[in-house]
């Protein structure tokens, strides 16, 4: 079955391991991920001002494209892309003024026929017809966690994993985030379906440092360290997460964390799709584990058993 999938820029460049593991895992589950034609950057940051409408046009175009290709839903893994697409879609659905303003921009887009090179304009309005889903939602509601459980090929029952939500999967609430901002369960349920032991830790919803990694690296390092430390002292073997920027801060920048905190010696961080792909029997080289700062390979292999008897 084909489903629309919006990878976003980072997955195409810096975190191909997230993209590859997602595709392979979904293929095992029987889904082929199709990207909407000519997709662009979503803008990464939802414009919070009521009067910055232009920032909503890029995500709206992506959604309109999915709609025009007959897609009823689009799935993402990047928490930033998810947040921007979802909020834009909700604006279009709930806010008549923004709907009008966005569609006024979109109407005048020019479409060039690739064969005849003729230009047309006057697009029909987009009214929020496409459902924006985070892959975890899709796995829970469309695939079903029980289906994942039934298809497990590798045993993860010895692995204690701390699910890290970060910000943009959950907040803001009120119909945007994928679960309760204060007591979410979806990530925990997902990890349980993989057979992992779930470790609850109080920093699972705290910010990793986000793009302050660029402008205020020391502050971001401190935030990342607090998250990792909390997972460690609560007994986790690894962290699972979904967002490429969280991954950057929590894994790729462990060099800085080590500099700032002498006691810190590194910690394995997975994309949730890497764990999914692994559990479903996908070959290890597809997971891109060697792209990580802290190669988490060993915690996968130090499982009590690696292959479930077929």
């Amino acid at each position: 079955m084909n489903i629309h999938y919006y990878p976003g820029c980072t997955l195409k460049e810096k975190t191909t391991n997230l993209d590859d593991s997602t595709r392979e895992a979904m293929a095992v589950l029987g889904y082929e991920l199709v990207e909407p034609a000519n997709w662009t950057c979503c803008g990464a940051e939802y414009p919070l001002s009521e009067q910055k409408i232009s920032g909503l046009t890029a995500p709206a175009r992506i959604l309109r494209q999915v709609h025009s290709e007959g897609g009823g839903q689009v799935v993402t893994t990047c928490a930033f892309c998810f947040n921007v697409l979802k909020r834009t879609n909700v604006d279009i659905k709930r806010n008549p003024l923004k709907n009008k303003q966005i569609n006024a921009f979109l109407k005048d887009d020019i479409k060039i026929d690739p064969n005849t090179k003729t230009k047309t304009t006057g697009f029909p309005p987009y009214n929020g017809e496409v459902d924006v889903l985070h892959l975890l939602e899709f796995l829970r509601d469309e695939v079903g966690f029980h289906t994942i459980r039934a298809g497990l090929k590798r045993d993860l029952s010895g692995l204690k994993v701390a699910p890290y939500y970060g910000c943009r999967m959950l907040r803001p609430g009120g119909g945007i985030g994928i679960d309760s901002p204060d007591s979410p369960v979806i990530f925990e349920e997902f990890l349980e379906s993989l057979g992992c032991r779930v470790v609850d830790f109080p920093f699972k919803q705290e910010c990793c440092g986000s793009y302050l990694a660029v402008s205020r690296p020391a502050a971001a390092t401190e935030a990342s360290y607090q998250v990792l430390r909390s997972a460690i002292i609560n007994g986790a073997d690894a962290i699972a997460l979904s967002c490429p920027l969280c991954y950057y801060n929590l894994d790729r920048r462990q060099d800085r964390i080590k500099d700032a905190h002498a006691g810190f010696s590194g910690f394995p961080v997975f994309f949730f799709t890497q764990l999914l792909a692994w559990a479903l029997g996908v070959a290890e080289d597809v997971l891109g584990l060697d792209q990580h700062y802290y190669n988490p390979k060993s915690v996968l292999h130090n499982q009590p058993k690696t292959e479930v008897a077929q």
């Binding site: 204060d182 007591s183 109080p202 920093f203 002292i233």
Partner: protein, 656 residues
């Protein structure tokens, strides 16, 4: 048929209400334009119709001119209709020949254009003339009174109300859903601002209630349903089986000793355990054990039967069944109390996740000499004495976005008391309170709060907490002190959350059964926020204590006494007068379809099976008119508000 074809003599009195009406409505023009309108004998204006001279003028004009109807164009009828009806009665005019044309709330207060407002006022008054022309003389319906009251809830509010009513000389049925009376107050340690031992002042009241010859105490009972009307209610009450004969039980406790089932003890807020057969607390009234069937292994002797075997008094009876009993009462006092907002709703504070994050009532039990720690401050997880304790106020209160919008009123005071009592017991301990505002408005309240700060060195931190989490053995509290503008992180051995008060669990369903109105938060709604604070809008129901909204003990007791006084006031009357503006049935027009029966919120209408038409219980009918609007045959016509009157009013308005 309008006005029975006879010419009426109607007087119109237009009120200025100072500038309230006159600044927007040209009252003189209104009076002038009505002069000469159909059946109008007199039309005049005056600065305050409700004043003595105003009333006198109306009275004299009725008598001198022989008016047979008057219209007062003034404020809403909810305010002065009674005043002017009395004037009419004094002048010898049937009070139902008085109509109020509301030209203040429905006109001058909501408009600014004087010209248009005056035109509208003229139309309003004209429409009332049309209504009045069709009015008939009515007499109030007289009803007898059952001089016996029911009090629902056996906390301090219910006990006080029951005692006062009983002392007035009337019988009281006191219904309590728990096995003992006493409510939350008997769970408390010491009470602010005097630090009286709560049990010491509460248990004498409990004993007095149980010994009072006029009070019948029904514990482990719940109100099922109510029918009837003010002065004449029939109540169905469910008696839950205790499986122990209260008269035979000698309180030896042998049954609990042998009982194998251990469950959390509600009286101690789950901080200790009880058996399935138990006495809620030593001073419980009635003093008898109760077998909690939900926790029991099962009543069949093959399952267990140990308690019955060991009871020498033969008080245990496994054959007791749930029963429904009926009581007839004339008034009901609702004193169903409160519960605390669930700690789970504030997951970020770790309540229900960490054993040492507890709510205020749990801390009351820890402080209480009769509590699980004998009054020593020890934390639930490991019994250690907490050296650092943090109190967080406004947990779920004053939070319209996520929780409850209201202030729970007592938390500032009881938190001050908690911190003070903690310091009295743990001299070398540190107590910190996170607060937004300290609201200590009550007699000797602020002095009490100041004492907590001045003498007991409690540190008040102005700001909220964002998160409580555990690291090893220690709770970490992250908050802010907005006075210094600094983030605060501190370690605590124990955290006490001042959870918001909410209406008692289950009271929502009860009030639905009783058809008693509640506000948006589920508290009982009073008839008027200023002038009728202890009455429900539903006649015959009175409010006492926290069922009506968060309150401290003195306010609760005062309101309970006020409710009892209102009950006494009702019972002191010879008979009750019911408004005659009801909706009878014109039997010739009624098809017996029964639509009106389903519309009636008061159960006043039923089908007469022999005549196959609807009949009306006049005293139950509140004259809301829902049936009249729904009746497809025009058989339901409200007295002095018939379809014909309404149409003529509409015509008068549309005519311009």
């Amino acid at each position: 048929m309008m006005g029975n074809g006879k010419k009426k003599k109607i007087g119109i009195f237009v009120c200025h209400c100072g500038v309230n009406i006159a600044s927007v409505v040209d009252v003189e023009r209104v009076a002038k334009e009505l002069d000469g309108y159909t059946d109008v004998e007199l039309s005049t204006d005056y600065v305050y119709m409700c004043s003595e001279p105003g009333q006198k003028m109306i009275l004299e004009q009725i008598q001198e001119r022989g008016l047979d109807g008057v219209i007062i164009a003034a404020c809403s009828p909810t305010l002065h209709e009674k005043t002017f009806q009395n004037v009419a009665e004094l002048a010898g005019l049937n009070p139902y020949m008085v109509e109020i044309a509301n030209i203040r709330e429905q006109n001058s207060w909501v408009h600014t254009d004087k010209e248009k407002a005056t035109d509208k006022a003229v139309k309003i008054v004209k429409s009332m003339v049309e209504k009045l022309r069709g009015n008939e003389h009515l007499e109030p319906i007289k009803v007898g009174i059952t001089r016996r009251a029911m009090v629902v809830g056996g906390g301090v509010a219910g006990l006080q109300a029951a005692l006062d009513i009983a002392d007035h000389g009337y019988e009281v049925v006191l219904v309590e859903k728990e096995p003992s009376i006493g409510g939350h107050m008997v769970q408390l340690s010491e009470t602010f601002p005097t630090l009286d031992c709560s049990q010491c002042i509460m248990t004498p009241k409990m004993v007095e209630v149980s010994r009072h010859p006029n009070i019948k105490v029904l514990t482990y009972h719940e109100v099922e349903s109510i029918s009837g009307f003010v002065g004449n209610f029939k109540v169905r009450i469910k008696k839950k089986p205790k499986f122990v004969d209260e008269d035979l039980c000698k309180l030896c406790g042998d049954c609990a000793d042998v009982c194998p089932q251990v469950v959390p003890d509600e009286f101690n807020m789950g901080l200790s355990f009880r058996k399935a057969i138990y006495l809620p607390f030593p001073q419980a009234i009635p003093g008898a054990y109760t077998l909690d069937i939900d926790s029991c292994l099962g009543l069949l002797p093959v399952r267990c039967g140990k308690c019955k075997d060991v009871c020498d008094a033969r008080a245990i009876d496994y054959d007791m069944k749930e029963e429904i009993i009926e009581e007839e009462v004339g008034a009901v006092v609702l004193a169903t109390g409160y519960d605390l907002y669930s700690m789970q709703a504030l997951g970020e504070f770790g309540g229900e996740r960490y054993e040492d994050v507890i709510n205020g009532l749990e801390f009351e039990r820890i402080l209480s000499a009769s509590g699980p720690t004998g009054g020593e401050v020890r934390r639930p997880s490991d019994g250690k004495i907490p050296k650092n304790i943090v109190f967080i106020q406004c947990c779920g209160s004053r939070d319209p976005e996520l929780h409850n919008s209201y202030c729970s009123k007592i938390c500032c005071m009881y938190t001050a008391k908690h911190a003070m009592l903690y310091k009295h017991r743990v001299h070398d301990g540190n107590a910190t309170v996170f607060y937004i505002d300290v609201r200590a408005g009550g007699k000797a309240f602020d002095e009490f709060y100041q004492r907590t700060v001045d003498e007991d060195d409690v540190l008040y931190m102005r700001g909220k907490v964002s998160k409580v989490y555990k690291e090893g053995d220690i709770l970490k509290v992250r908050g802010v002190d907005t006075l210094t503008g600094k983030l605060v992180e501190m370690e605590a051995d124990m955290v006490v959350l001042a959870m918001s008060m909410v209406h008692a669990d289950g009271s929502g369903e009860l009030m639905k059964k009783l058809k008693v109105g509640t506000d948006k938060d589920g508290w009982l709604a009073e008839a008027h926020p200023k002038l009728r604070p202890v009455e429900s809008l539903n006649a015959g129901f009175f409010l006492a204590g926290c069922a009506h909204g968060p309150k401290d003990i003195p306010d609760t007791v005062a309101q309970a006494s006020a409710a009892a006084a209102k009950v006494g006031d009702l019972f002191a009357r010879h008979e009750l007068l019911h408004e005659p503006t009801i909706v009878p049935v014109i039997e010739e027009l009624c098809s017996g379809c029964g639509i009106c029966i389903s519309m009636c919120p008061y159960g006043a209408r039923s089908l007469d099976l022999t005549k196959h038409v609807v009949k009306v219980n006049e005293v139950l009918c509140e004259g809301c008119g829902a049936c009249a609007a729904a009746c497809p045959c025009g058989a339901a016509q409200q007295k002095n508000q018939t379809d014909e009157q309404i149409f003529s009013m509409v015509k008068a308005i549309l005519k311009g």
